[in-house]
């Protein structure tokens, strides 16, 4: 690297930008006076624009439904009590409650199920559009025939806690929610998965297991599905989820089909 510093430095370029190999942090950006070179400025704006678009993009439940074509499961649309995006962003409490129509609709499907899968927009509809259906199919591939699966719900304006309402309404022992995470500047499509045993209103995050950063450039949907299926099996075996349920799925001895 030292040979770089002997060269004439073009205006605005940083001779140490090779240090960027060590981190994704935005180092070695160069300077123009005290400011950022134009290209760097616009790169940041593009990343922010993509993240914001992911937050504000409307959830296209019917497109996700199409991606699930071929699955032998009933699919239901539900909506939280937050009527629109601005309300959703300011009232997380409403995003954890079902609206009246959805509660009534789910009541017609109440049963006794092992698991309810919920695909939700969360803070990034894009993450859900891009990865939720695929991840769900991969999870189902890992599960044996012993699982009774509740109707799959597609949840709009949803927070994580909405899964508790849905799971309780359907009569599921366990919920597995795939939901868009708060987008980072360079991870606008990151999906999260929350497992909750005994879903009911008032569950806290300590009661859940989370698998985070599901996206091709992060934890791939394939790897995530394996991890989630492992946690599902363990959760059912132990009859719990949360801090007492440890993710040992990286230990090859513990992985079962």
């Amino acid at each position: 690297m030292s040979n770089l510093t002997n060269k004439k430095i073009p205006s605005g370029l940083d001779p140490w930008n090779t240090l960027r190999a060590h981190t994704d942090a935005r180092i070695g950006l160069g300077r123009v006076g005290d400011g950022l070179p134009t290209e760097r400025l616009l790169e940041f704006q593009m990343a922010h624009a993509r993240a914001r678009d992911s937050v504000h993009m409307a959830f296209d439940a019917s497109a996700v439904r199409d991606q699930l074509d071929g699955l032998d499961h009933t699919i239901l649309d539900v909506h939280s009590a937050a009527p629109d995006r601005p309300t959703y962003l300011q009232r997380p409490d409403l995003g954890r409650l079902l609206d009246e129509d959805s509660a009534a609709a789910l009541g017609k499907h109440t049963g006794d199920y092992d698991v309810a899968f919920i695909l939700a927009d969360g803070l990034s509809a894009r993450a859900s559009h891009d990865h939720a259906a695929n991840t769900l199919k991969l999870i189902l591939d890992h599960l044996g025939q012993s699982w009774s699966v509740a109707p799959i719900t597609l949840a709009t304006q949803s927070r994580v806690g909405l899964g508790d309402e849905i799971g309780a309404a359907l009569g599921a022992k366990l919920t597995v929610m795939l939901i868009g995470e708060r987008p980072g500047l360079s991870s606008a499509d990151s999906l999260g998965c929350y497992l909750t045993w005994g879903p009911k209103r008032g569950r806290s995050n300590a009661d859940r297991n989370c698998v985070s950063n599901i996206r091709p450039a992060g934890l791939t949907p394939e790897k995530a599905a394996k991890k989630i299926a492992y946690l599902m099996v363990e959760s059912r075996k132990m009859g719990l989820s949360g801090v007492a349920l440890k993710d040992n799925s990286s230990n090859p001895d513990l992985i079962e089909g």
Binding site: W16, A25, L29
Partner: protein, 463 residues
């Protein structure tokens, strides 16, 4: 604690101080979420009229959380300095605002007054102030602290160099430290948020920073922002701890949700002071706060988010911190919805902290689901620079890849120092000149092919 008569203005009545303060607060989403906000603009201003007539003494007799139930309240009451309070003891909140803006409220008068003020008095007067009032008065409050350099001198602006990495990778952290130093950042602290809160991870990161600091003799301090109990643990193992970090809030219940007690903070301060690692001072604590923290822990006790935030500064003040950082936009739009609310909150927090005698800095920041962007951050950053903020945050390119939010960058700090003629901490500025990073005019113009720069690069390559 007795409760006096209800407060009123025209057709509006307010049953107690807590309600009055909440209704008088500028609109923000967190107070709406908590069900505490005024129901109309008219009610909000009516509350301000009523608040303006409240004697400051009333805040000493009506606690917002009962004395018996809350150790923050006990600290506020027990540590109150009646002699320091005397000059303003006959004033109402409205009088107090008027006085603060006069030339009688000199830096020296404000410094003597600080121990006589309670956070509720300070929060109350802030609610009657416009942004320019918050800036004008804060600028007169000089809170100077020191460890290996001196932070908070008028005409100076320090920067926390925040070289976070998602896996605490040493080479990645070192690359970001190097980048920050070459941009003149790092005089407030080189402070890492560790991805893992464990004694082993903390010790490894502390050693990494300590090595570069000693190798090229940087007059600054380091911090790994692990839990206070982790810091106590590693100090017992002789790890090189300069500053002890902890997040704090304005109620006992909220602090319990962070897993801390006053006794832990006192123990940590004693232990860190005992290491005697400071050279020009011995302020060893670094606290972070932020509006909405208490509500998000369901521990706000019915107090509006700005007032409960100010109560956290009383906790901070007790332990003579080097740095107190309000992380103003991190918490999300359900507490501070947009750039306007974030800007207001940043100025309020800085004002309240400074008036209480706390060395206030600000993480000017936002998340991607807030209605804010870099223009909003530029505005708040500039306003805080004008107000004399002790320090801001420097993250490479404003993008924290570990905590997934946007703060201010090394470039932003250079901009602010340039347009306002602010200097780094004097000891650090001297080092930057020696390293050929600052030029003759005090601008950050590093000589990248100089020997000093080569030394830095060599260290980074070895990390």
């Amino acid at each position: 604690m007795q409760t006096g008569a209800p407060f009123s203005f025209e057709r509006f009545t307010f049953p107690d101080l807590k309600t009055l303060l909440a209704k008088a607060s500028p609109l923000r989403s967190g107070d709406v979420l908590a069900g505490l906000a005024a129901s109309s603009d008219e009610e909000r201003v009516a509350a301000r009229f009523a608040l303006a007539d409240v004697p400051l003494k009333r805040f000493l007799s009506e606690a917002l959380v009962p004395y018996e139930d809350d150790d923050v309240t006990r600290m506020i009451i027990d540590d109150h300095d009646a002699d320091a309070f005397a000059p303003v003891s006959s004033m109402t909140v409205g009088d107090f605002r008027n006085w603060l803006l006069t030339d009688d409220a000199t830096p020296e008068a404000l410094r003597h007054l600080a121990p006589g003020l309670t956070p509720e008095m300070v929060a109350a007067v802030s609610k009657l102030m416009r942004n320019q009032d918050l800036i004008a008065v804060a600028k007169k409050c000089h809170v100077v602290t020191a460890f290996r350099n001196t932070v908070g001198l008028p005409g100076h602006l320090s920067v926390r160099l925040q070289p976070n990495h998602p896996t605490d990778d040493p080479a990645g952290v070192a690359a970001s430290i190097l980048d920050g130093l070459m941009h003149g950042s790092g005089d407030a602290v080189i402070g890492i948020n560790p991805a893992t809160d464990s004694p082993e991870a903390m010790i490894e990161l502390l050693k990494l920073i300590d090595e570069v600091r000693e190798r090229i003799d940087i007059p600054t301090q380091s911090c790994v922002l692990a839990h206070v109990t982790t810091a106590i643990d590693v100090m017992a193992r002789n790890a090189p701890v300069d500053l002890v970090f902890q997040s704090i809030a304005g109620t006992q219940k909220a602090n319990e949700s962070f897993g801390i007690t006053q006794a832990m903070l006192a123990e940590a301060e004693d232990a860190a002071k005992g290491l005697k690692r400071g050279t020009v001072g011995n302020n060893v604590m670094y606290f972070e706060t932020g509006q909405g923290a208490a509500l998000s822990a369901d521990a706000h006790e019915g107090i509006d988010q700005q007032t409960v935030e100010a109560r956290a500064y009383t906790v901070a003040r007790k332990y003579s911190p080097l740095l107190v950082n309000t992380v103003v936009g991190f918490i999300g739009p359900e507490y501070l919805f947009d750039g306007k609310q974030i800007t207001r909150a940043g100025l309020e927090d800085h004002f309240c902290g400074k008036l209480l005698g706390v060395p206030m800095g600000c993480d000017v920041c936002y998340t991607n689901h807030a209605e804010a962007d870099q223009d909003d951050m530029d505005n708040l950053l500039t306003l805080l620079g004008v107000a004399g903020c002790n320090f801001v945050i420097g993250v490479p390119g404003a993008d924290d890849i570990m905590l997934n939010y946007q703060s201010t960058s090394f470039h932003d700090a250079m901009y602010l120092r340039s347009v306002l003629g602010l200097q780094p901490a004097p000891e650090f500025a001297a080092w930057l000149r020696k390293m050929e990073i600052l030029d003759q005019n005090g601008r950050t113009r590093p000589q990248l092919d100089g020997q000093a720069a080569q030394n830095l690069l060599a260290w980074s390559g070895a990390a």
